[in-house]
């Protein structure tokens, strides 16, 4: 049973931040609510004030320019991203990721800002965005700051945001030349979260050598994490199956998964190694042919 709360409906982002400043830890932002309402119903979260930003037009936008990349307002729904022709052209992996995120109903109502702020290590967007070097702009009544997703997640369900801050924008830098990102999760049902997930971005130099690599693991630790050892294996290497294999092994060694009923720790590491190998290779193959 959800515990009683006072419902607040701000008319603008600014007003929302004012409310948040006022109520701090007792207030909770709701947007799509697709994750929040579940835990509220279980009685795990009992905010006194719920600040609804779902309908805020000033946070619902998507823009792209070749210099700054993609900017999405926090209340942009998953479905909007999935259906955007622009996103499909510039960041096809985002569309692929969204198509696999839960079900249409959830994507219709759930938002990108809400998903990232919920900080579930098994969430889909975080690994992909992190792998592409994405960041979030968070705001409070006293100002704004941009936090790289690399630094955003501090612990299970915890972020670097203060109690008076909320995500207002998601930023994805422009895709470099000869670069591609691939994402896959391992799940039992199509609509499930990943038992583990891997996003890989590979950027090649002119000679086909790996100039940069960003490997991000989902649900392989208490937060979404970079697999930096795996990246080291890849960066500077002439890529081939043996290198991908090694990168997979490195990622499996450095991740910190926990066991649950769906997979043991050992099996999770095994899956991380397989998916890392596969995604790095898939990204490499696409990077070779991309402009």
């Amino acid at each position: 049973m959800i515990s009683d709360f006072t419902y607040l409906k701000p008319g603008s982002a600014k007003e929302a931040l004012k409310m948040l400043a006022e109520h701090q830890d007792d207030g909770k932002i709701i947007c799509g609510g697709q994750s929040l309402l579940i835990i509220m119903r279980q009685g795990l979260v009992t905010p006194e004030y719920v600040i609804d930003i779902k309908k805020l037009k000033d946070l619902n936008y998507m823009t792209f320019d070749p210099k700054d990349g993609l900017k999405m307002g926090a209340t942009t729904t998953h479905r909007t991203i999935e259906k955007s022709a622009m996103v499909k052209e510039k960041y096809p992996v985002l569309v692929e990721m969204e198509e696999k995120l839960a079900s249409i109903q959830v994507r219709n109502w759930g938002t990108i800002g809400g998903n990232l702020a919920h900080a579930d290590a098994a969430g889909d967007p975080a690994p992909v965005l992190m792998s592409m070097g994405g960041s979030v702009k968070v705001a409070s009544a006293s100002g704004e700051r941009v936090i790289s997703l690399d630094d955003f997640y501090t612990d299970l369900f915890e972020t670097a945001m203060n109690h008076d801050e909320m995500i207002v924008e998601v930023i994805v830098p422009p895709r470099p030349a000869k670069s591609a990102t691939k994402y896959q999760k391992f799940n039992l049902l199509d609509s499930d979260q990943g038992i583990v997930a891997v996003a890989a971005t590979i950027t090649l130099n002119g000679g086909g050598v790996c100039k940069d690599a960003r490997i991000v693991l989902g649900n392989a630790a208490s937060t979404t994490i970079r697999a930096k050892e795996a990246e080291k294996v890849l960066i500077g290497a002439k890529l081939d199956d043996a290198v991908f294999q090694k990168a997979g092994e490195a990622a499996a060694a450095e991740c910190q998964p926990v066991a649950d009923i769906h997979a043991s720790e050992e099996y999770r590491r095994h899956l991380i190694s397989i998916l890392t190998k596969r995604m790095a290779k898939a990204a490499w193959e696409q990077a070779k042919i991309s402009g």
Binding site: Q34, L37, I38, D52, R79, D190
Partner: protein, 161 residues
């Protein structure tokens, strides 16, 4: 907690109800407006039995606060049939036997309606992905997929007029 006035538009009908703000949309529809076609089958936004169409989008009514649906147009399974005339998807469900116990059917119909409005010539895979948010324990889904497919292929076009 003080109740507040909420105006909802369901199946083209305006309703005024007094609710606690924590009321979920599915509770508003079932308990306050008393349209019980919309069901609940879980507590974890998993089963889709509560699916309704909000502003042309399929949404799980157990994952939305009723107050968040103010100002939208909501369609439930009761709103599909007009003056005794069944909608194409309802006819297709009958023709294909796309339901058994019927408990998931309202939600399944609403997912189907929203999906068909959005996707004109769907592949089988797209149809299956279109209803993946809805659990049906009885049918094994294939009859539902056939029903959606037959509507998409225009089997009931003459009915649409």
């Amino acid at each position: 907690m003080e109740k507040q006035l909420l105006r909802l538009n369901v199946n083209d009908q305006n309703y005024e109800i007094y609710i606690n703000p924590k009321t979920l949309l599915v509770e508003a529809i079932r308990d306050h407006i008393e349209l019980t076609g919309t069901k609940r089958g879980c507590d974890t936004v998993s089963c889709g039995a509560c699916t309704v169409v909000v502003d042309d989008m399929a949404v799980k009514a157990c994952s939305v606060l009723a107050v968040q649906a103010e100002g939208t147009k909501i369609l439930t399974s009761e709103g599909l049939e007009v003056n005794g005339k069944l909608a194409p998807i309802q006819k297709a469900f009958l023709d294909e036997g796309a339901f058994q116990c019927g408990f998931c059917t309202s939600g399944m119909l609403m997912s189907s309606v929203a999906f068909l409005n959005e996707t004109k010539k769907p592949t089988e895979k797209e149809i299956r992905d279109g209803i993946e948010g809805n659990i049906c324990r009885c049918t094994g889904y294939n009859s539902i997929v056939r029903a959606i497919d037959s509507v998409a292929k225009g089997k009931y076009t003459e009915d649409k007029v």
